[in-house]
């Protein structure tokens, strides 16, 4: 079992490299343009009542890997389906480059797509599955069989050509699905949770591979996931969606360092960011935050790694050490997780080492690093710290254009 898995890991890696390099050659040989994707005031509602997407505008930059990230039901798959043309918006416009594709269906948009469950046609053989897009494009039979065999060899399923999908392992099915997505020389590649059916270790390897290969090929890629860690590792930009609205659309690190709102702060990062009612601990921050924040702040959020021993030699947010009570500590390999009672709430800190700790139930002095501490107001927007200027310009949603 484990040997087979190892084999799968290795060959999966190899095949993905090949697959994306092939995609690269398609890009250049077929003269497909690498395009950006632009949404203008796009809405989608079912029965004109329930808004799935509410008037969203953004530009997915060309030649980059963009993640759509959010909890289930946030509208990320809907957004992907709007890009693919499987869904039509009830309002707004969609552009591929300069071309308005709003009214065009999936057929005309020529996107490549890999689904989470592979969605291979169960009644067709592997070769027929790969050749199906070419058959629909009326490629001559001899040509498409030749190309189909090439693609199959590329993804290492050449020995399985006459098998039906249900005779293949999950990994093999995914290879066939990717071969099928490549068969039509797509201008945009859409990946709908492509890694979620793989085991954890393989998933980590594959995401690194996808990222490296995407850099080499430069094809505009949209990757949907609900796993924030996966998104942070793979993406050039991340669009965080919740309840049909864009919460924030920026680079992974900026998303982590400067979350615009409480939702993003809580969604990004593991362990989940500590939140304490600001009123409980307000006095500790009196010297740090402006008066307006002092009165408007409702929630303070603190990243686990920003809670450090009072003896920590680096910069501290507050002049005096803060005090809490040590509840419990656990060591997991290189991580030490400390539960700390502060402001009437139990918070998790992982900036401590075992030698920094006392006994459970005893008071403990700690300090906060200047980074990773945020104050949010009543409606969940970040009111402190103010946006920190960095040399990386954040990606702004495109200007709203009124017709």
């Amino acid at each position: 079992m484990s040997k087979r898995r190892q084999y799968n890991n290795l060959s999966a890696q190899i095949f993905l490299v090949h697959a994306f390099q092939y995609l690269l050659t398609i890009q250049f040989t077929k003269g497909c343009f690498i395009v950006d994707v632009k949404f203008q005031n796009v809405s989608l509602a079912y029965d004109n009542v329930n808004n799935i997407l509410n008037n969203i505008s953004f530009t997915i930059p060309e030649g980059q890997l963009t993640c759509l990230l959010g909890p289930s039901g946030c509208g990320k798959s809907t957004t992907l389906n709007l890009i693919s043309g499987l869904l039509s918006p009830t309002g707004g416009q969609i552009f591929f480059g300069d071309q308005n594709v709003t009214k065009k269906d999936a057929l005309a948009r020529k996107v490549g797509m890999v689904f989470q469950n592979y969605a291979l046609y169960p009644h067709m053989t592997v070769l027929d599955n790969i050749c199906f897009p070419m058959k629909m494009a009326k490629v001559k039979k001899a040509d498409r069989l030749k190309r189909g065999r090439e693609l199959a060899a590329l993804v290492h399923v050449e020995t399985e050509l006459s098998k039906k999908p249900n005779e293949l392992s999950g990994g093999q099915q995914q290879r066939v699905a990717i071969a099928r997505a490549l068969a039509k020389s797509p201008s945009i590649l859409l990946l709908d949770e492509p890694l979620s059916n793989l085991d954890a270790r393989l998933r980590v390897e594959m995401r690194e591979e996808i990222r490296r290969i995407q850099k080499e090929t430069g094809v505009t890629t949209v990757f949907v996931t609900h796993d924030q860690e996966e998104a942070i590792h793979i993406a050039d930009q991340i669009m965080v969606l919740n309840e049909g609205k864009i919460q924030q659309f920026t680079t992974p690190n900026r998303l982590y360092d400067q979350p615009d709102n409480l939702f993003v702060a809580k969604f990004i990062g593991s362990p989940i960011i500590n939140t304490i009612p600001f009123a409980n601990v307000r006095d500790d921050f009196k010297a740090v935050v402006p008066t307006r924040v002092f009165s408007d702040g409702v929630t303070v959020a603190i990243r686990a790694e920003s809670i450090v021993p009072a003896t920590d030699p680096h910069d501290h947010l507050t002049l005096l050490p803060l005090s809490g009570t040590q509840v419990q500590s656990n060591r997991f390999g290189r991580e030490t997780s400390l539960s700390l009672n502060y402001g009437g709430h139990t918070i998790i800190a992982d900036g401590f080492r075992e030698q920094d700790l006392g006994r459970n139930g005893k008071p403990l002095q700690f300090a906060l690093r200047p980074q990773g501490v945020f104050v949010f107001n009543q409606s969940g927007e970040r009111v402190w710290p103010e946006t920190i200027a960095t040399n990386v310009s954040p990606i702004k949603p495109t200007e709203v254009i009124h017709a």
């Binding site: 693919s84 969605a119 169960p122 009644h123 629909m136």
Partner: protein, 298 residues
Amino acid sequence: MIKQHPTIKSTLIAFAYLAPMLIITLVFNIYPIFKSFAMSFYTKYDFFTDKVSALGWANYKFIFSDPDFYLSVRNTLIFVLGVVPFSVLLSLIIALLLHRVRFLAGLFKTAYFLPFVTSTVAISLVWQWIYNDQYGLLNAFLSHFGVHPIDWLNDPHWAMPALIIMTIWKGLGFNIILFLVGLSNIDKRYDQVAQIDGANAWQRFIHVTLPLLSPMTFLVSVTSVISGFKVFDEIFVLFGGSPGPGKSTLTIVFYLYQKFYSEWKYGIAAASGVVLFLLILVVTIIQFWYSRKHVHYA
């Protein structure tokens, strides 16, 4: 799963659970099957004392020399060939439409299903009126196209078409429901993938929907063929207890019924039943053989 070795006790317990259904099936299905098979060889038989005096092939010799029996086989085959293809095709088309219709979908489904749950007697009464040569709805409709009134129920040429039309209509609802179940069991992802792969609506139907629906199409055809071979009550009620004008709708089951209830020839009735059984068996085997190549089980 718990793996248990079967013991005598566990086997007996299993049989106890199976017993109620098993007894009913044995008494009302299995026993009559063997009994009627045996009965087809009774050449001298007293029904009241259940005493068999002679056995032999005479019953089979009789039916295979009876022109009425040949007529009934011929009529049955015409009926099956007339009903099944149209019924399957029509119900597939209507199911495809209903599958897309969102507006009042429930009402439409109910409307199409009603004939199936309505008693055949009531249906036949309505159709007798529809088929009436002077006052009938069908002739009134056809007269708009310049068709002269047809005496559907009394003209030997038109009795069989009349029967076929009514049977198709009556069976439509059940087949539509089966097809709708089949259609909703097809993951709509396949349709989306096919769209992405560049297939238009017709290509998606031919290359994706139809192959994935094939197990249900097969089920519908097999059950339609079997129930077609067994047709009786529609004829009995539509033609007022007669096998149609000039025996034009005399089917095998009707032949069997006449021999059994009207002429008290149990042996001959049983023999024709055995022939019907073999006929259905052969046709079903052919269908299964065909399905091996053309039905895709996902």
